[in-house]
Symmetry: C2
Subunit: 470 residues, 2 copies
Amino acid sequence: MLIVTLDGSSKRPLYEQIYEHIKSEIKAGRLSIHQKLPSTRSLSNHLAVSRSTVDLAYNQLLSEGYIESVPKSGYYVAGTLTLLDLKEKKSIPREDKSEQNGDVRYDFSPFTVDISSFPFSTWRKLSSQCMNDMNQGLFLLGENQGDYILREAICNYLHDSRGVNCDPEQIVVGAGADYLLQLLSQLLDKKQKIAIENPTYMRAYHILHGMGFDISPIEMEKDGISLDGLLKSEADVVYVTPSHQYPLGIVMPIKKRLKLLEWAAKKENRYIIEDDHDSEFRYIGKPIPCLQGIDANDRVIYMGTFSRAIAPAIRVGYMVLPETLLKRYQQEFFYYASTVSRIDQSIICKFIEGGYFERHLNKMRTRYKAKHDAMIKALKVFDGKIRISGENAGLHLVVEFLEEKSEEMLIKKAEEIGIRLYGLTPHYIGKTHFTHPVILLGYSNMSEEEITTGIRELYEILYKNYNSLL
Amino acid sequence: MLIVTLDGSSKRPLYEQIYEHIKSEIKAGRLSIHQKLPSTRSLSNHLAVSRSTVDLAYNQLLSEGYIESVPKSGYYVAGTLTLLDLKEKKSIPREDKSEQNGDVRYDFSPFTVDISSFPFSTWRKLSSQCMNDMNQGLFLLGENQGDYILREAICNYLHDSRGVNCDPEQIVVGAGADYLLQLLSQLLDKKQKIAIENPTYMRAYHILHGMGFDISPIEMEKDGISLDGLLKSEADVVYVTPSHQYPLGIVMPIKKRLKLLEWAAKKENRYIIEDDHDSEFRYIGKPIPCLQGIDANDRVIYMGTFSRAIAPAIRVGYMVLPETLLKRYQQEFFYYASTVSRIDQSIICKFIEGGYFERHLNKMRTRYKAKHDAMIKALKVFDGKIRISGENAGLHLVVEFLEEKSEEMLIKKAEEIGIRLYGLTPHYIGKTHFTHPVILLGYSNMSEEEITTGIRELYEILYKNYNSLL
């Protein structure tokens, strides 16, 4: 018979003491494999505890596999226990993801934003407001497409600032543009070929490709995507960035927009994915209405995000579905819970509704315009040596270096003196070759002074004679 | 010549005044289609403004399509303008999503949590701490798999409480379990068949099915998924909920766990998706180590979420990838940005690291156990009329009503007196038939008193003679 020393004054329940004792006896080999255990009745008598206490202990041992129950016979020590002792935690050496940023003094990244302008105190204020007037319901799951009041706020903003013509019901709020593109992929027919501007936002390409679509890269013309190329590709869905082509910065003129809409209207199930990336930042002239707003045939899927306009870490984007796809979404994809926390939804809603978003955008437009102008001015020294394009919008310029031969060499030369440049080549699907290197010069997260001196140093390292020009 | 009245004292820039004037002239028909406009030189002379001001105005008109430029000739009013006037905002009647909750007095939902126990003041405190000590970097994009310190915190928590054996590098943090399942779907081979416990968490079924997988529902045995059924299905991936089968509440014993792991190890590319749903809430005995922790062959994808343990609106889940899939993820899916805002990541990290999470779980376990016990006690009156199962864990009981015939009728009868019940049937893939209705009795968001009176009223409406039993 088992000798278990029970401690009635212990915090541990009696059943657990019995369980622990038997377990350690088995592990130590003092109870051997297939050895019979006392019946629950006899053990409970022996230990002077209730039978249900022993039952509990045996059940735990059973469910953990230490003992087995043989019907009409009793309990036995089990056979296979070797795997049960938990292994040590694994350790995988972490990839070194730091990019040795130590020596970079000027980073002309086109991928970042001016984070020092984040509306910090407003965000903090709204956040604590949400926490304070919040009812507990905010911690329950909200609507799958996003809370209706947020969708209303986005709907009004998009109508007034971008000419988007939709109902809040058509809006799906999600955790960033990438997520929404994955979701959209599930609404489209996988057999449809998707045409993509080339060069493009490569993340979109990777996602659509990764979701199993056949992708046709389409060459760019001076006024945007080649419509001939689109026709020839036989794709029925096209991904475009008309307000500010990424990365070339082309603003698609209205004429081409109308032709693109005409193309979409010609066949059933044709769709245009309009990524209205960066549309908030246009420095010359007023923004052109988006494709969605002038589409009469329900063919445009409009996508946008707060990542560029507010901050990258705010993982909130939105898409406006045409009614056909909306129906499909609501019928077949009803089960996808929203991916944005309701507190975040509520903060953003207050940010838009309270007029903070508009003020923030106005402030940023002015800031970015000043940086943009500083960049243009600083580049004047390169007169004749570069060709600038894409300068009307967005957060970078596209600069072709007419006297250089290799993008790689140019970037390397700059890197040597602490200037980080970003080439155009990685934005192409497939191979490409330029006679002269083309660089995307981002200015969003640099001060005007940094821009000015950074560009001057770049000139100096390339042509050595900057000072002689002054 | 155009007569434009310019207002030099207006806030609107001169170019915009010119642009607006010409646009309204065109829209009103006072400038007709194909009519030639004055050259920029002559208009600037005429209006006594700089030529670049007129250039800007014309460029805006050009880009919006109101005018066209004919090389070597000049500017003309354009031909196609009909589509350009933005339509009114659409209005789609909103589906009525309220479930007429007015008359429901007792809602035995198995899908909710005890929201009144949300650690409200802690959350608020941590949130404003994050806002205060936060550097602005928190608004830049973090690591794609989630911030490393959060992954470390999750890794330690999973090791200590669930026996998960992993490195933070294997963890992917994402916006909820649904999102992570979509992401995982992209890592698996689409040609692989996926076996799913039947009944199951239908959302997982819908997502995997929607992502294009061939799904084999596998029947359940008393100790969990049928291994024979799994073998026969020829599936190479299986989705299981071993710690607390959803919805049946079965805890898979260690023996079956080992057999399942053996099955997975037998063939390359076999994987077990272990959804450790609800594992935090186990009332009898200690938790059994998860499959991942006893797997020696790198075959288990472990998934969990904070939705049940903290609150549904906290859209944060995690998965632990085996090394093979991790490699694939890092090589091929590097482009997916994290879907969780960094502020939320930082709050949860503090919540775990500060010991709040453990205290919260202990509190909830006690609360849920009291509710669970109240439910078991209240159900005693049904003696012989019901069969209870799944009572060791989770937030609901599985109750078979032995004297009833139809789930639908039972639910309807209860609904009439304001009691909402949830049947088992909707959790089955494909059709199913029970001799007696089976109800999932959730208790998480009801008080003990509500549970007691709710169950009593249910008894009364079914058997009319509750009082005579007292």
